[in-house]
Each structure stands twice: as C-alpha cells, then as structure tokens.
C-alpha cells in the first residue's frame, strides 16, 4: 500500500530529514512511526500524500508513483488519504461542521448527506454535540478530535496521523487510539507518528523507528485487539442512528 525505496529528503537549507529510507506497508496494516523530535517523522508522512517530494528515491502509494504523478492527479490521490496534522489545521472562521465536511463538499455531496457524514464522524470522536461550535471555542484536545473527524469522514483507504494524541490526556488518548484501531479493522491502512513509547508498547503492532532521518528499526510487537484495550469507554458516545435534528441548518 505504501512503499518507500531508498527515499531521501533534504531541505533547501541543507538539512537532511530522511536518509535512504525503505519500507513496505501492506494494505490493512497498522503501523507506528516513532523517533525523537526532529528524527524526520513529519517529513516522511508529508511525502506520502505528496505535500512534498523526495530528493531521491521512489514512493509508491496504492501502486502509484507519488513523485511522478501528474499535478492534476494529485487531488484524486489525496481524496483516498485521511490526514491528521500535528497542528490540527482547522479553519477558525468555520464551524466544526464546515471544518469536517470539506471533502464531501468538494465531492458535491448534498447538504443532508453532509450532515449525516459529519454527525457520524463527530460521534466517533465524541463531539457530535459541538457541530456548530467554532474551533477556538474548543479545547486543544477537542480541536484535535475535530481534525481526526475530518480525516475519517470518507472512510479513507489510508489514515496518516502526526502525533494525534499529543494534546490529549491519557484517557482520551486511549479512546482515540482505540478509534484508530477500529478504523483499521474496517480495512483502512493506518500510519501513526508518535513519541509515546508506552502507548506503542501496550498496543503492539508494527513499529518503524527513525533516528536522524534513518530507519534504524522495523519491528513487529505483540499486538492486542481493540476490545481488549483496557481504557474507559465513557468518553465515546454509544453508537446509534444519526440524530439529524442535531445537524446545523443550511449554510451554517
């Protein structure tokens, strides 16, 4: 699903962020990407959805060579990848509803379906009741979850998350992690960058470790399934039919 062949990334300043990195992530895998600050995690993730191009090497995503993809095809690649940024990148002028429905909107989804999708995605992160709030009215953790809802709204083939639990308290971190594992169970390939060694140890799965731009470790840890994750589930709302009355009015 995601293949790196001897990929290097050097920034114009001369800074080498990635040094001949190679790996192969199969469809449906759940992979942690870890390493010290500045190791090159964000740089690596950005190459996958073509926010940047490698200085050397080849990257295949879903069989397509990302660095040689024609510019007009890039949008179609990106529609299959959900991304959660380290810095959220929410638009403060827009409501939570508007923030999470960018993808449905550019696909021309009608408003009713948009509301349904937004409700479902926000319910999964426990924020269905904040549909009409503005990002700055939310806590950092809540903003983080809105960003996650935006990435999940269209059941992406690949989910990329850069420190998605960095702003969450441990309890909420586990909820979000469990959400990612659920998403992964439904078939989405997940690549998650994190510093949180403890979390990685508890969850298991495959771990790629970067150090100063080099892939120094590619290990498979003993995994546990989402139901066995011991974490309080109260923060997440129980699943149920979407309540459309809670959705905002047209043009909200």
């Amino acid at each position: 699903m995601i293949q790196f062949f001897q990929v290097s990334k050097r920034y114009p300043g001369g800074q080498t962020a990635l040094d001949r990195v190679s790996f192969d992530i199969a469809r449906g895998q759940f992979v942690f990407l870890t390493g010290a600050s500045g190791a090159g995690k964000t740089s690596l993730l950005r190459l996958i959805f073509r926010e940047d191009v490698p200085s050397e090497g080849q990257i295949l995503v879903n069989g397509r060579n990302v660095s040689s993809i024609p510019p007009q095809k890039i949008p179609y690649l990106r529609r299959t990848i959900g991304v959660v940024f380290q810095d959220f990148r929410l638009i403060s002028r827009k409501t939570v509803f508007e923030n999470v429905t960018y993808l449905p909107r550019i696909l021309g989804t009608d408003l009713t379906s948009q509301k349904k999708l937004a409700y479902q995605a926000l319910r999964r992160v426990g924020l269905a009741h904040r549909l009409n709030a503005f990002p700055l009215e939310l806590s950092g953790g809540e903003q983080q979850r809105v960003a996650i809802a935006r990435a999940l709204i269209h059941e992406p083939e690949i989910l990329i998350a850069d420190e998605p639990t960095g702003n969450l308290d441990p309890e909420l971190s586990w909820d979000i992690l469990r959400l990612f594992l659920e998403v992964n169970l439904r078939g989405t390939t997940v690549l998650l960058a994190t510093h949180d060694r403890e979390m990685i140890q508890r969850v298991g799965r495959r771990v790629l470790t970067l150090d100063a731009g080099r892939l120094i470790l590619d290990q498979e840890l003993q995994g546990i399934d989402p139901p066995r994750l011991e974490a309080p589930a109260e923060a997440l709302e129980p699943p149920g039919p979407p309540v459309l009355e809670a959705a905002p009015e047209a043009g909200a």
Binding site: I74, P75, R78, T80, I91, L103, I106, G108, R150
Partner: protein
C-alpha cells in the same frame, strides 16, 4: 460534482467573500464603474453627436449672406445669377424680414434682441442647395470663392466646412474617450486582481486544507474567479445605471435644450448596455485569472509544519 453545481457553489462562496470584505471589494467595483462610466459616456456623447452630424449632412447648404439693407429686386437678381452656377440644384431667397422671423422662432428668449430696432438687423441671404450635398466639385468651389470676393456679399457660409470640423472633434472625442476608458479599465483590472489576491491570501489556510483533502485547482480557484466576475458585473451595472441617470437628468432638466438633444437624444440600446455590463464582468474575470495565474495560492504547502 457537476459543472453547474460547482458554479453555484463558487458563486455562493464568492458572494459570501464579497459581503465579508465589502470595503475592499467596493474599491474594485468602483474602479470598474468609473472606467465603464467614462468610456460609456464618451461613446454615448460622440454617438449622439455623430447621429446629429448624419442628420445635418443631408441638409447641408451653402448660405450666401448679402449686405444688410439690400433692395429686394437686387437680391432676386443675384439669386438668378447664382442659380446658373455649376453644380447648383436650387437657390432660395431669404429676405431680411424672413431672417428675423426665423431667428425669433429659433431663439424665442432672444427675440427682443432683433425687435424694434428700426432697420432689419439681419442681412438677406441666398440659400444654395448643391446638387450633391455631400461633395463640392472643384468648379462649384471656385465659383463660390469668386462670390466671396464680391462687394454685395458679406459672407459665404458653407455648412460643410464646420460640419467637417465637427466630425473631427467627434472623432477626437471618441478616441480620447476610448483611450481613457481602456486605460481606466486596465487600472480596474489590476485593482480587481489585487483585491482577489488579497482575498486568496486571507484564505490561504483554507486553501491549503482544500488542497490537502483533494480539491482540484478548478475547485480551489473557482470562487475567486466568481468573485472577480461578480465585482466586474456589479461595476458594469452601476456604470450603466449612472449613465442612464445622467441622461435622464438632462432630459428632466431641459428636454428641448440643444445640449440635451446633442448629448442625450438617445440612450444606450439594450445590446450596448448589455455589452457594457459584459465588459465589466469580463474585466473582473480577467483580473481574477491574471492575479492568480502565477500564484500557488498558498505558502503553507512547503513550509515546515509547526512543531
């Protein structure tokens, strides 16, 4: 998403942007309005003047003014002599009395000026209708020149001469108006371009999100093109409205005045008004497209992510 759906979305987005940033947009709209108003006004005025010239061209005569106080039979004799000249279709005698009455009819407010002064104040004249009103063959010109030098003649006035000068003035007016209109339009295009670029800059965070989730360039740029188009359209409507108001004002104040008849006899035809509005909208679109041509629309794309 269908093309029409996309267009609707673009215009809705553009309308919201216009409403939110109306102060900056107003500047762009007003520059378009000014350029179209000036260009349109010159074209309207010169068009009306040209129409008058056309009307007069068919009635062009040569008037031979005689010395004041000349006896009637002498006037008739001269008329007879003139009739035998080359290229002359007819000669009509206008006596001093008839000249005064004509003057009083044409300028009622000035009628006292020529009344009760004893002698008739205006000279008798001979109105010569050339065989071809638009052209003066050399023989006729030589003939008329010889009449200019005769002592009985005070002045030979050829309509064609001043009509030709008027035509030159109108052509000049038209050229100046066109140049001014085009110059202002170019300025307006740049203004709209700057406003659009500013809007795009203010939305660069949103643009980068749109890029990220897979919006096409068309989808990303569409709202900005729509905004330029709307600004131009608005400017076109305003300019047409102001022109119409100016014309209506002239008519309301003094419908029969020479100025009204010359400048505002006819307003823009619906097709011309539509062309003016279309020109505005087109200019707005061009401004928007040109301003975003080289733009990546976002700086966030290749910046290091905030840590």
């Amino acid at each position: 998403m269908s093309f029409l759906q996309a267009l609707r979305a673009f215009f809705r987005e553009a309308a919201i942007n216009l409403a939110r940033g109306w102060k900056v947009s107003l500047v762009a709209v007003l520059t378009i309005t000014l350029s179209l108003f000036v260009g349109g006004a010159f074209l309207l005025v010169s068009g009306n003047l040209l129409a008058s010239v056309e009307r007069w061209r068919g009635e062009m005569r040569v008037v031979v003014y005689l010395q004041p106080g000349m006896a009637e039979d002498r006037v008739e004799a001269l008329a007879g002599e003139l009739r035998r000249g080359p290229g002359i279709a007819g000669v009509e005698t206008v006596s001093a009395v008839a000249a005064r009455e004509r003057f009083q009819e044409a300028f009622p407010s000035l009628s006292d000026l020529v009344e009760g002064m004893g002698d008739e104040p205006l000279p008798p004249s001979l109105e010569v209708t050339p065989a071809d009103p638009a052209h003066r063959p050399p023989e006729l010109r030589a003939f008329l020149d010889s009449w200019r030098r005769r002592p009985e003649v005070s002045m030979v006035d050829d309509d064609r001469e001043w009509l030709g000068q008027l035509e030159n003035v109108v052509a000049l007016l038209r050229a100046v108006g066109l140049a001014l209109g085009v110059g202002l339009l170019v300025a307006a295009i740049f203004t709209i371009g700057s406003v659009i670029r500013l809007t795009a800059y203010l939305h660069s965070d949103e643009i980068s999100i749109l890029r990220l989730v897979g919006a096409t360039e068309f989808y990303i740029r569409g709202p900005f093109y729509a905004e330029g188009f709307l600004q131009g359209l608005l400017g076109g409507f305003l300019a047409t409205g102001f022109l119409w108001a100016g014309s209506a004002l002239l008519h309301a104040q003094n419908p029969d005045a020479l100025l009204t008849r010359l400048l505002a006899a006819r307003f823009l035809t619906p097709a011309e008004a539509a062309a003016l509005v279309g020109l505005g909208a087109g200019a707005g679109l061009v401004g928007a497209i040109a301003s975003l041509r080289r733009e990546r629309l976002t700086v966030a794309e290749n910046e290091p992510a905030a840590e």
